[in-house]
């Protein structure tokens, strides 16, 4: 079954071509969607890419959320369509209230561009295989410091909406692509992906609050504990690097998976998100 990704271009987006390239490289169809368009007709999944929409001068994502296309994005989300916001796209999603919380300036006041280890949490997110445990992905931002109030954090944790946390210090790239075109990563080792699309749907189907007591309480423990070690390079609350909405279809993350798909820099961990959602779209 054929499906199509739509990649939204705001003025100042600068990672849209990277996302399209990565999808193209993985064999999927992707098209640019202009911010002044009003429709997402024909798109089966939508990606809001990284960059500096409107220069991010007022606040990151603050102006982009009022683009005409965002009305369509909100409707798409409400209809259960899969949406991924990467970096600036994540910021746009929070400004548009499609995801809770906000992203403020990094703790050290420095822009951060480097590869970080991430822990994959048990979540309702439709963009990630449950079997993946750790990933190494590049971050690239000045405002990636996730913030929300205590009630929101509790609800994120209780509803299994925390998707990625900074951490797992020594992990190597954890994802081996199912196909191995072009440049095969040399460093990847350890994780062999299960063909687990059934398990994804199973878990998402049963992903109501409370259905995963062990992971939820683990996460709640982390969030509640004042002594949680901060490993987030940007100072993010509870080390949060990515969250999704309650339904799991809208997903925002600060790291850039599109940068590590073809393995030219020795890492292919970014593939997992696109492959997971593609498998879902195929299964529909």
């Amino acid at each position: 079954m054929s499906f199509r990704f739509g990649v939204v271009v705001f003025p100042g987006s600068n990672c849209e071509q990277d996302v399209v390239y990565a999808l193209d490289y993985l064999g999927y169809t992707a098209d640019y969607v202009w911010h002044q368009d009003h429709s997402l007709a024909g798109c089966d999944a939508v990606i809001l890419p990284g960059g500096f929409s409107y220069g991010d001068y007022l606040r990151c994502g603050a102006i982009a959320r009022f683009s005409p296309i965002m009305e369509a994005v909100v409707r798409f989300a409400q209809d259960g369509g899969p949406i991924m916001g990467i970096c600036n796209g994540f910021q746009v999603l929070t400004e548009a209230h499609l995801l809770p919380g906000a992203l403020i300036r990094n703790k050290g006041l420095k822009f951060l561009c480097r590869e970080v280890p991430l822990r994959v949490e048990q979540s309702v997110c439709q963009w990630l295989k449950p079997t993946t445990q750790t990933l190494r992905l590049p971050i690239n931002h000045n405002e990636g410091n996730y913030r929300c109030d205590a009630a929101t954090l509790k609800s994120l944790v209780d509803n299994c909406q925390v998707v990625l946390r900074y951490g797992a210090p020594d992990c190597a790239p954890g994802y081996v692509p199912e196909r191995a075109p072009g440049y095969v990563p040399e460093r990847a080792s350890g994780y062999v992906p299960e063909r687990a699309s059934e398990r994804v749907s199973e878990r998402v189907a049963g992903g109501a609050p409370g259905s995963m007591p062990s992971s939820a309480s683990d996460a709640a423990g982390l969030a509640g504990a004042a002594g949680t070690a901060e490993v987030a390079p940007n100072g993010a609350l509870d080390n949060i690097a990515g969250i999704c909405n309650r339904e799991g279809n809208v997903f925002g993350l600060m790291p850039h998976p599109e940068r590590v798909c073809d393995g030219i820099s020795g890492n292919s961990d970014g593939i997992v998100f696109f492959e997971t959602i593609a498998q879902r779209l195929c299964a529909v």
Binding site: R59, I63, N106, K107, L109
Partner: protein, 78 residues
Amino acid sequence: MRKYNLYITAKKGIFDPAGATAQSALDNLGFAGVNSVKIGKLIELETADEVNTDMVETMCKKLLANPIIEDFRIEEVQ
């Protein structure tokens, strides 16, 4: 013509990295007794006469400030 000054600051309880950094820099420079530094922004609006404070407040809520992380205060300049 009316003029408004809008003061946007980090919401109480929201971490302000710029303020925290400035505070520690002041401390390092030997300025004792600075208990808190908050850094925000000032937005100066010049509007037509019919733009009243309520409308400016709506602008703040909708675009100019993010109520999740920011407080704002509107001051009409005479």
